[in-house]
Symmetry: C2
Subunit: 673 residues, 2 copies
């Protein structure tokens, strides 16, 4: 059992206040947290160690001898000189291990939250991975097993369009910081510092240096994180350099190719916008290109912008966020509406049956939102983070933690996925693994670090973003406990805060009033309080030794309509309740889902079913279903379509595809009576 | 001016009655016919001769020096030894010239229809092309300029997956037959017979012969046609062999590859079903794979089945047709709903915004329907042929004949085509040419041979399939004149037949009652006649010297609803009037088209606008338009969507995209009041 290291113990200088010590007590998220440690991380460990022939959706064979194994741990052992063999997998295969290490390190830190959580083996595995990375690292700090095993040293950093070297090292840096923060051990952190130092030596404006970035952003946010952990300014400067150089030289990748650098994925001809290289990245005003690349970049821009107080960076981050949430985000929070290039497409283009909505992109929206909150906490950003947490991101993982979606559609049909290749990317079963296995560990590292997404402290104000029950020590005796009676959030909107502040520190607690909660009541120490939120928060003075706050949010079922600019949702409604977006599944609704419709003011019955899908609130609507004699493909009609009363059953979107495979849809046609 | 050759003058034996001599007098089609000769064929001639830098939609550069020229005539001149140079273009580039030759040959035959038609230059160009083909042909009969120019002779017929050699020779055979039929010259026909003989020598079950077919069906229907023209049985037997061998050996293409045959399009990995090679073709019961390949094959199966009276073939053709028209055809007649592989997808999968609906596939549906009619004339088949003629096929050509659609969507939006790569195949402007330029000449050869689609003679019954005004000489004095007073069909449903039969031949004229015409009146020699159609036709005795028939079809505007199995059309209506399917265009409707809806019994006003789009009936409906304050991407609502009265203007689908570029949609949301 590993205790938490003091996060204020910076290696060089102390620049920020102590992090709050958060323990998550939420019933809903507590289940996900223990599932992550007890099921997901062990399953992924076996996958990374080739102990399960991982179940790849399209049957793609990769790895040595065409097997369907990850090979990522083996690559590390080979690079570390522990066994012979050759590299196998994607050039960035190491990141599957790094993200696992990051998630596992978080888990070591929060294991005390729940007696169900078992980390006996995990700790040993974490140490094994750290040792492997340390041994695999070259003496100059370089670490990327693809290059170390397969390519001569003079090829390093010379094929950055697809090499993913900095992406790979960035994930290792993130993992190392997490490992140090959780365990207090500096072994991994020193690997990260040597890797960052190697990058610093090779990249920059000077003579003989590489003057452009990696095709996949990641190093920028990793370096910002390394700076925040260590206080070493050079990592922040290097992160800022990578941001400022991006898109300055549109020829950069071509020049590397012409200079004889290594070329991967030669058959993939992606436009510069895919790499977020089409123009100086700080001039972007639309979210374009590969969604995860854009969002990792935007996260770094927001973080570095905040750390440097750089107005241009902060404005760029704000523009991108605004464009996404106003024009390029599904109602579930998923982003990236185009499969080709896993990319954003154009404003208000949100096809439900074709969308990509990569799980990693929703995870990245949480990174991005968290970074924006550090500069300027607003309820609008926290609302989107909540949307991702409970919907867009969460749909990416099976309830038991062992199967994953890469793509998150808002409308699915096994017949379409099997029968029309344009929709083949839309799986209707979560998969055990992927040949590009970025998503499984990404969602797990987010859940394992969820405690970091609950609060932002600005001056004397503590912003409580999320209604995820927790007990948090802010130091100097200040403890905030958020509790949720009964089944708790997201099923109930009753939230209580007990603030203990024995030293009487001057503090405000800003509680979020979600935009979706049209009504709410707020009682402070038993007295009903009427105040309008500012920027989505109500700030409450908590300077006295004890304060009790009771907030009741409006959990009425809501019908949502999309902007009329969204063609895909014309004439349709979506349903939400609290933070949860709902969907229909074939298993609950016996006819083709597109034959159902409902009025905006449909009769609704709701009940919490503790046995269904690990406990969900089920909604049933009084709607209708089109009926028509099957007399041909097209028939002339002179009467309105015949409709029969029908019950529409809906479950939370995040929980879909945990029962029988079948049709699913979020948007339902609106019946206008 | 070239007179028509007697089509009964078979080279070897006379097996069938004289073809009717049809002159099309339809105002609607007369315009298309003269436009074809005066505009389309000259434009295409210039394109084939590299005299216009053809305007390729995606800017693909091909041809010598990366130019955007067809090079197809140059390839022929090079192969004919008339000039030096190397081959350029697709392996099947010759077929662009063959199809042009076929169309131009038809035009020589029908030039007398209309004094506007000018064939002075055309005749000379036709002769030039025939001479070139004759000179380009190898002494053993082989002719395919790609192979003759680029590859050693021992590579011939050894890479049939993609070589298109038999496809290429098949189109030449079709052109040659058409040329002989129109001009009476046997020069081209003899080239065709030598080519067919070369194929006959190389293919078959015997030792040393190639035992499989070309990856792209075409030779089968070409050989059947050569047989019908010449009466030479070997071509029919060879066509039947190609049909029977197809799909018998799923390894055939792989074996050719392993044996060192030439390989084209190596990066394209298409399943066997794309080539209609997944199983014995006569066992198919669903239309799968590349739509044009499937339909050329199905046409040959129907034709050869009829010629051989082969029950298995006829049943296979019938199954495929039935599957298409019941489950895989858009309301406009377009087929092939998937861009990937230009293919059929699965039953009832008919996405309006993603569909492919290749112009060539609609042309091929006409070939297939015509072949089925030869065995068993039914109104249902002729109805689909009419649907293709006036809608699915006709949308493929600009009104002036010089720009073409390859893909025919039922919903288009320039923003989507430009902004979402999944929809990049959906052009919102017809293009001047294509790197794979199959469609322009295909639609032109169909229009130029339209006279062949009007009648089927079975025994003593003459089936009049189409309401396209014409005057036709059936020999022995029997002349049928179909006239359409006023603006004529398809705008008016008044049709008259005057039958002159001075010799009193025992004949019936079977007139089609379209399934879309719920009511009709039929007057024979001025007397109202009540009789139910059988198989979609009413047979009228026309044995007396003169018979006058007046048929009035129901041209009421109809609303159509799709089968509830069609997800894409759920809650939507399409509009048709007579044979014409309608659409909305942005130029006529100022708001985003998806915001409009209409009830099934909407008030409609109709007027014929002679100045608009070369004369169309315009429909205006009293419908509604959704309105909503633009307060965000998703808003909570508790009232039905607000709707304002709005006029929906519709024009014929075939005429879309002849004005300003903009949105288009066929299916409109149904408002249920």
């Amino acid at each position: 059992m590993t205790g938490k290291a003091s996060k204020s113990a910076h290696i060089a200088g102390t620049r920020k206040p102590a992090e709050p010590q958060v323990s998550i007590t939420s019933k809903f998220w507590g289940r996900y947290r223990s599932m992550t440690v007890n099921n997901a991380l062990p399953y992924q460990w076996r996958a990374l160690n080739d102990e399960v022939p991982v179940d790849v959706p399209d049957g793609t064979a990769w790895g040595e001898n065409g097997s369907q194994f990850s090979h990522s741990m083996r690559n590390l052992r080979i690079a570390a000189g522990r066994e012979p063999g050759s590299f196998s997998g994607q050039p960035f295969q190491d990141t599957d291990v790094s993200k696992w290490l990051e998630a596992a390190s978080y888990a070591l830190g929060f294991a005390g939250e729940n007696p169900d959580i078992n980390i006996d083996e995990l700790e040993q595995q974490v140490n094994e991975v750290v040792d492997l990375f340390a041994d695999a690292q070259d003496k100059d700090g370089y670490i990327d097993t693809k290059f170390e095993i397969d390519l001569p040293a003079d090829q390093r950093f010379r094929g950055l369009r697809w090499s993913h070297e900095l992406y790979t090292m960035g994930h290792l840096i993130e993992a190392a910081v997490a490992n140090w923060e959780s365990t207090g051990s500096t072994k991994a952190l020193n690997v990260a510092r040597r890797a960052a130092s190697c990058i610093d030596q090779h990249f920059g404006d000077g003579e003989g240096k590489v003057h452009g970035p990696d095709g996949h952003p990641e190093i920028e946010l990793a370096l910002a994180r390394l700076y925040k952990a260590t206080g070493e300014r050079r990592w922040l400067d290097l992160a800022a350099w990578f941001i400022r150089v991006r898109g300055m030289d549109p020829e950069f990748f071509d020049e590397q190719d012409h200079a004889g650098g290594p070329q991967f994925y030669k058959d993939l001809h992606m436009p510069l916008s895919y790499f977020i290289m089409q123009k100086p990245v700080l001039d972007l005003d639309k979210a374009e290109g590969h969604a995860v690349r854009l969002l990792y970049m935007a996260t770094a821009i927001a973080e570095v912008g905040q750390l440097l107080d750089d107005a241009r960076m902060l404005a760029a981050a704000e523009r991108l966020w605004t464009n996404i949430v106003r024009h390029r985000m599904y109602v579930t929070g998923n982003v990236g509406s185009c499969q080709i290039g896993e990319s954003f497409s154009y404003d208000d283009d949100l096809p439900n049956d074709l969308g990509y909505g990569e799980t990693c992109a929703s995870v990245a929206m949480l990174f991005f939102g968290k970074a924006l909150m550090e500069t300027h906490p607003t309820g609008a950003v926290a609302d989107v983070m909540e949307l991702e947490l409970f919907n867009g991101m969460l749909a990416g993982i099976q309830l038991d933690g062992t199967r994953y979606f890469y793509v998150n559609p808002l409308e699915a049909d096994p017949a379409a996925s099997n029968g029309n290749p344009t929709k083949a990317h839309v799986l209707t079963r979560r998969a055990g693994w992927f040949d590009c296995a970025c998503c499984p560990a990404n969602i797990v590292r987010l859940i394992a670090s969820l405690d970091r997404y609950l609060y932002t402290v600005k001056g004397n104000t503590i912003y409580a973003h999320q209604y995820i029950a927790n007990k948090t020590d802010f130091g100097n005796g200040l403890v905030i406990e958020q509790s949720q009676p009964g089944e708790g959030y997201p099923w109930s909107g009753d939230i209580e805060f007990q603030i203990s502040n024995p030293e009487g520190l001057q503090r405000s607690l800003a509680v979020r009033i979600p935009a979706w909660s049209a009504k709410w009541t707020l009682d402070i120490d038993g007295r009903r309080t009427y105040v309008q939120p500012r920027d989505g928060f109500i700030a409450i003075d908590v300077s006295k030794p004890e304060t009790h706050i009771k907030l009741v949010l409006d959990m009425s079922v809501r019908c949502l309509r999309a902007s009329l600019n969204v063609k895909a949702d014309a004439g349709k409604l979506a349903v939400a309740r609290g933070p949860i977006v709902y969907c229909m599944e074939e298993v609950d609704n016996p006819h083709d889902l597109w034959t159902y419709s409902m009025p905006v003011n449909a009769q609704v019955s709701e009940h919490y079913d503790a046995k269904l899908l690990d406990g969900v609130e089920v909604l049933k609507f009084g709607g209708v279903r089109d009926v028509q004699e099957n007399t041909g493909l097209y028939i002339a009609v002179d009467k309105p379509v015949e409709r029969r009363a029908a019950e529409l059953t809906m479950i939370p979107y995040y929980a879909w595809c945990n029962r029988t495979e079948g049709q699913m849809q979020v948007w339902v046609r609106e019946t206008v009576r």
